[in-house]
């Protein structure tokens, strides 16, 4: 039946094998970069440099070790075309490139110069040949693409996670004269009231964790189980925290409850000194007060902005509870209330614990709300910022506080991962039955309806106040409608007002989003699909990426990338990298959940059809992952647009982004301008989210994979 010509098909193609030509391409790339791009970093960046500066930075213009680079690179060519057996050739590549990379770094550190573009390209080329080398030795069973991916990911984690974090340790544990001082950490933290800051942070985190979990549970039960129309309103609530920059909720709270807020105004109007209605003997008991600043305000702001996150987590969990278990309980004479208490809630207990711990981490890591509302209430994240931002410039203190914050969130994260993440009662049956869900007990539903109505009104008022705040002259003093704030931001040409920061935000996020999604999905692929020596390193790096608070990243990057050999502060690159790192959990999480739904036999089938791993990823995995990749990219983009904690440390006058610009206006007292910008940002993000949801609706592929 099969034609005899098919026998010829078994042509020996070796997809994993790298030909000398591949080496040559990398060498040419390194060579070209060496001759034409700056070997040393330019003081003012590539595009602002004068021609003299540019020429001076070229590697071959200087009489140092860098002159050996072309010779070093050229030596690869005879090696690649020689007849050395593959395995030995692998060793030659591996050792030779390691020596090269080591030498380059040594030279830069030794001479206190910063790396330029061509040095980066040469290191990258050497790293690529290194990956080819170890694959020839047998790493990843000779698969040079996967080897390269692993080397790349490890390199990224090393340079942009581990190296900065060690810099924090270095700052804390090594004294100014360079000697090792293990007790310096204690000296730093006892020099001010660290116990109070830590206590404040923990107290806030636990309160917010508990409250958001309880409220999230109420929302989730209501959204999944209630029979009222209001439940549909709850279901779209999740979108708000995604599109809202973290500190905007805090700002709107000030508009409502601040010293000159609406509530205070109303109270003053009714009961104040010259008030409308003064009960006898109660003259002057109502005064304008700043009760919103401090714990109350931060707590309220974080509860409002984090409850939807907890709701998302818990509603997902509740909707996977098998209804037949509850029906079994009902048939045994248990009431709906008893069933809820004895069956449903215990089943989602891991989800509840998860929501609590996540709430804690998010609260401790939150920077924007404490900054706006903190007042006298110091928490770690703001204290870190003030140690560097103000006149203090105390890197030791910032690093010590950063370490404490990092350890707190690492501990909570590891507890969540190891203890809660493993146990799930809900998925035990694995069968999604289409039974009817048990409705909420009547009284409970009524209570929840009231609660949620109040909540929605409050949230509505907050967002309305942000929107309106941009259109009144001076909130609290003069409520005359005006477009002056918006005019100041948008009508004075594209090089002033809000435009430069908005352009930066959009541009950086636009570059960071695909980049972070690609690496995130790659990490997810390596974690879910590959076993090899050294994988624990990537696992740990991933944990750090997930757990590290933005302020800690900010401090670490300032410490790490302000000096040779890698000097990036003040550049757009560092902001893009920061945004990418901050958004990376999105891609990793999305990739992991999508990959866990794709049977490995699809990839195996492709391998057995003679396809190499690159072809398999391109033709099989990527098309199936496309919906995930698109939504991860969109979400990463939004996250990059709204992030503030890390970028505030790194943004400069030239690289200001939308969030840092808004915060700077808040600090200088221009609330009107700040909320005007904030409302535009929220509106833009909302449109973008809706657009993405319309265009990346469930495709046929997603549907098919999900049913498997």
């Amino acid at each position: 039946m099969l034609p005899s010509s098919l026998n010829n098909v078994s042509a020996k193609t070796d997809p994993g094998e790298t030909k000398p030509l591949t080496i040559l391409i990398w060498i040419i790339a390194g060579f070209g970069a060496y001759w034409f791009l700056p070997w040393f970093a330019l003081e003012y960046g590539l595009f602002d440099a004068t021609i003299e500066e540019y020429l001076a930075s070229l590697g071959w213009k200087t009489r140092t070790l860098t002159l050996t680079v072309p010779v070093f690179l050229a030596l690869f060519i005879p090696i690649a075309w020689s007849n050395i057996p593959q395995k030995r050739l692998g060793w030659v590549y591996t050792l030779y490139t390691s020596a090269g990379i080591g030498l380059i770094f040594f030279d830069f550190i030794h001479t206190q110069n910063s790396m330029g573009f061509s040095a980066a390209v040469v290191v990258m080329a050497l790293a690529a040949i290194f990956a080819i080398g170890i694959s020839k030795i047998g790493f990843q069973r000779g698969d040079s693409f996967i080897s390269g991916a692993v080397v790349f990911v490890i390199f990224m984690v090393l340079v942009f996670i581990f190296y900065p974090v060690t810099k924090i340790f270095y700052q804390v544990l090594v004294s100014r004269d360079g000697s090792f001082a293990p007790f310096q950490f204690f000296r730093i933290i006892t020099s001010f009231g660290v116990d109070r800051v830590v206590f404040n942070t923990l107290f806030l985190a636990i309160s917010v964790g508990a409250t958001t979990t309880l409220f999230g549970l109420i929302f989730a039960l209501y959204a999944v189980r209630a029979t009222t129309r209001l439940r549909y309103a709850v279901r779209v609530l999740y979108i708000l925290p995604i599109i809202t920059p973290p500190f905007v909720v805090g700002m709107s709270l000030i508009l409502l409850f601040g010293r000159a807020g609406l509530v205070n105004d109303t109270l003053m109007f009714l009961f104040g000194n010259s008030g409308f209605f003064i009960p006898a003997g109660a003259e002057g008991i109502f005064e304008r007060s700043g009760y919103i600043y401090g714990f109350t305000g931060i707590f309220l702001a974080q509860t409002l902005s984090l409850t939807p996150v907890s709701y998302m987590l818990l509603s997902g969990m509740i909707s996977t509870v098998n209804p037949s278990m509850e029906e079994a309980s009902l048939t045994m004479r248990a009431s709906r209330w008893l069933t809820l208490r004895n069956v449903t809630l215990p089943l989602i207990r891991p989800g509840i614990a998860n929501a609590f711990l996540l709430g804690m981490i998010s609260s401790a890591a939150d920077f924007g709300n404490p900054l706006v509302l903190g007042g006298e209430y110091d928490v770690l994240s703001t204290e870190i910022y003030f140690s560097i931002a103000g006149a203090q410039l105390d890197f030791g203190k910032a690093s010590a506080l950063g370490l404490i914050l990092l350890f707190l969130s690492l501990i909570v994260f590891v507890i969540q991962k190891k203890w809660v993440g493993q146990t799930s009662y809900v998925t035990v049956t694995g069968i999604q039955t289409a039974g009817n869900v048990t409705p909420l007990p009547k009284g409970m539903q009524r209570l929840f309806t009231v609660f949620i109505s109040v909540w929605l009104v409050l949230v509505g008022a907050l967002y309305l106040s942000i929107f309106l705040g941009g259109f009144v002259k001076q909130w609290g003093a003069d409520y005359t409608l005006t477009i002056a704030h918006h005019r100041e931001l948008w009508m004075h040409g594209v090089s002033s007002g809000g435009w430069p920061s908005l352009k930066n935000s959009l541009g950086y996020s636009f570059i960071a989003a695909p980049f972070t999604t690609m690496i995130g999905v790659l990490i997810a692929y390596i974690i879910t699909r590959k076993q090899f020596w050294g994988r624990g390193f990537i696992d740990f790096g991933t944990v750090l990426i997930f757990a590290i608070p933005g302020t800690v990243i900010g401090v670490a990057y300032i410490l790490a990338f302000n000096t040779p050999p890698v000097e990036l502060t003040g550049t757009a690159i560092i902001l893009i990298i920061t945004m990418a790192i901050r958004a990376m959990p999105v891609g990793i999480r999305g990739g992991m959940s999508a990959l866990s739904q794709i049977s490995t036999s699809l990839e195996e089938a492709s391998l057995l059809q003679r396809a190499g791993s690159l072809k398999t990823i391109r033709s099989v995995l990527l098309p199936i992952l496309r919906p995930t990749i698109i939504s991860s990219m969109a979400y990463s983009f939004i996250r990059s647009m709204t992030t503030v904690s890390a970028v505030i440390f790194l943004a400069t006058a030239g690289t200001n982004v939308a969030t840092t610009y808004i915060l700077s206006r808040v600090e200088s007292g221009d609330t009107g301008v700040a909320v005007a910008y904030g409302s535009v940002l929220i509106f833009t993000m909302l449109c973008f989210t809706l657009l993405v949801q319309v265009f990346a609706g469930r495709s046929r592929i997603e549907k098919q994979v999900k049913t498997k």
Partner: protein, 359 residues
Amino acid sequence: MDKTDSIKITLKDVSKHFGAVKALDEINIQFAPGTMTTLLGPSGCGKTTLLRLISGLEIATSGEIWFGGENVTDLSATRRDVGMVFQSYALFPHMTVERNVGYGLGVLKVDPSEITERVQQALKMVNLDGYQKRYPDELSGGQQQRVAVARAMVLKPKVLLFDEPLSNIDSKLRRSMREDIRKLQKSSGITSIYVTHDQAEALAVSDEVIVINEGKIEQQGPPKSLYHLPKTAFVANFIGESNVVDATLEKDGSGKSVIIGDTCIPLPENKKVPADIGPIQISLRPEMVQIKAESSSGTAIEGVISQSAYMGPVIEYSIETKVGNLFTRAPAHHKQYQLNQKVYLHIEPAELIVIPAPA
């Protein structure tokens, strides 16, 4: 019909360890050229691991794997020239049937017009010509599996592997599917290995059956010999139905006889039995045991009916005897026995399956 030059597959001392777990322990097998061999065993016995070692998707901890004269131990799956049919079919959901089957040809850079032609031939082979433009989710389970078979065979691999290919197909279709697979395998002459936990499927499709238990080969042989001459109680129990009872082999004048409880059954002289007398095990298959109301000779086992179940053409009986509860069946149109009725179980001495006592 043209046949490939069928190759022999040899496994030499192949072991696979997952950490401390020995999934497979020093396996030695030869698969004869052009045959279909079934790896049969309970789930978790290592049969799928063995298949994956042969495919190259898993790499052996130690030992060698040879395809004909070529040592493929260190070759990755991509380079081994193996076709495989997966339990889950593993059809690419985002590709049409045509692109699924032609995927490997595309990888090998075959001319597009030729791909179309070969895909059509492969689909004809599995009676699915005309389905080229369909997506996998528009096909039934059986059709999807046939596409998977076409895809595995279109490259004419040296080795064809089937990993429980029929377990997701409903039982009525299964019979015709396994006949189709067997027919295709025979006509192509590709050395094939078939993993299943269904003993009936194993007996029906294969030239040879290898029974695997706990990472070790229990027995290898043609289906008939495994059924009639199981070497271990495990094989006797796993293939077909069987009552395995303890017995003793004794010298009886010039010949030997088997003592089951207090019944002595003399064996015919030409029956192959272990040389040493002593404890052995006997496998009594239901079809060798005849129930009678009275004993016609001294070689019947006495018992009492403890349970009966009407199954349509036959009635299944459980009979309580001195050597334990024995299970057999009798045609329903015969005399029916009552619960607690005393009966005699007659066994033809020549049919007795003697299993040497485990060492």
